[in-house]
Amino acid sequence: MMDWLKQDAAGAEDLGEDMVLAEALRSLDPATEDPNYWLRFRSWVMSEAAFELARRRRIVELSVEDVLASWSRTLLPVAMAAAVAAVAFIRSPQADAPTVVTVVGVEELLVAEVREETQPVLLSPDAAAGIVAFASDVY
């Protein structure tokens, strides 16, 4: 029986070359009939890729001055527009209106909604007497 496989000594790594099959499969290689096939294949790809490659080169070749100049072309009008908008806002009637400020103390704020003065009563020096009176009333 024909030994189709030229298996290596270890038998585990590569199955090796199958000469017969490789020869048969070569008929699928377009270069079998057209020796310049792969040259043309590559030429076609390279001609189609020329524009993209040139674009990439242009990006790399941009100097720092070019980048700053391109930024300034965008940034300056934006900065000018922002400055004009800020001036307009500051000069608007709403900005000129006087601001009414009401001064409220922290303690006032804390007890503003509290009706009964429970805490001061409980914390007063007579608090203990009040509790005893309450207990005696209840029991």
Binding site: M2, W4, L5, E13, D14, L15, E17, D18, M19, V20, L21, A22, E23, A24, L25, R26, S27, L28, D29, P30, T32, E33, D34, Y37, W38, F41, R42, W44, V45, M46, E48, A49, A50, E52, L53, A54, R55, R56, R57, R58, I59, V60
Partner: protein, 190 residues
């Protein structure tokens, strides 16, 4: 003797628009790309279109190649996806039309009948294999890639590659053995 630049080095140069570097990548992977495309489409014209387009897509998206040293595997993924998209589109169109750019099959006086006959047999036998087996057998036995390279680039375990290759070869040999014309080739090779 100078070492050939690695994929990573070539990709980094191509990112900056280096034409020579991109050309080297095309030269290095045009055959495997065609083989993978052929394993998916099963037609020369479609394989050619898909492989060529894949290089252009790869160039457009070169920044997305996170590991430039594994450019080959990344490219093969693009080739597979482009090929699948192509046959999906083709199935919606009349498949009898040959797209522009198809190679000119000028008849050569020697071996033309034999080559055509073997090709037909192989095309038929390959079409009966699972897609992954077609890819592996073409990359290994036509393009000369090693198991390790195939495993790495197709992101498959090495053992799986070996077993797919074994079964693909077995099926192809069986298909070829039973047909006329092939034994002559076998004798010629030996």
């Amino acid at each position: 003797m100078t070492d050939a630049p690695t994929d990573g080095e070539l990709v980094r140069l191509a990112l900056n628009g280096n034409e020579q570097a991109f050309g080297q990548l095309v030269e290095r992977y045009q055959r495997p790309a065609y083989a993978v495309a052929y394993s998916v489409t099963g037609r020369h014209e479609d394989a050619e279109d898909a492989a060529q387009e894949s290089f252009l897509v790869a160039l457009d998206r070169l920044e997305e190649c996170r590991n430039p040293d594994r450019f080959g595997g990344w490219l093969m993924t693009i080739v597979r996806n482009r090929s699948k998209n192509l046959i999906r589109r083709e199935s919606l169109r009349d498949t009898d039309q040959v797209p522009p750019g198809a190679r000119s099959r000028a008849p050569t006086p020697d071996r033309v009948a034999e080559v055509l006959q073997i090709r037909e047999m192989l095309e038929q036998a390959l079409s009966e294999l699972p897609e992954v087996q077609r890819q592996i057998v073409l990359l290994h036995d036509l393009e000369g890639w090693k198991h390790r390279e195939i495993a790495e680039r197709l992101e498959l375990p090495s053992g799986t590659v070996r077993s797919h290759l074994h079964f693909a070869r077995k099926a192809l040999r069986k298909a070829l053995e039973g047909r006329p014309g092939v034994p002559d080739l076998v004798r010629k090779v030996q």
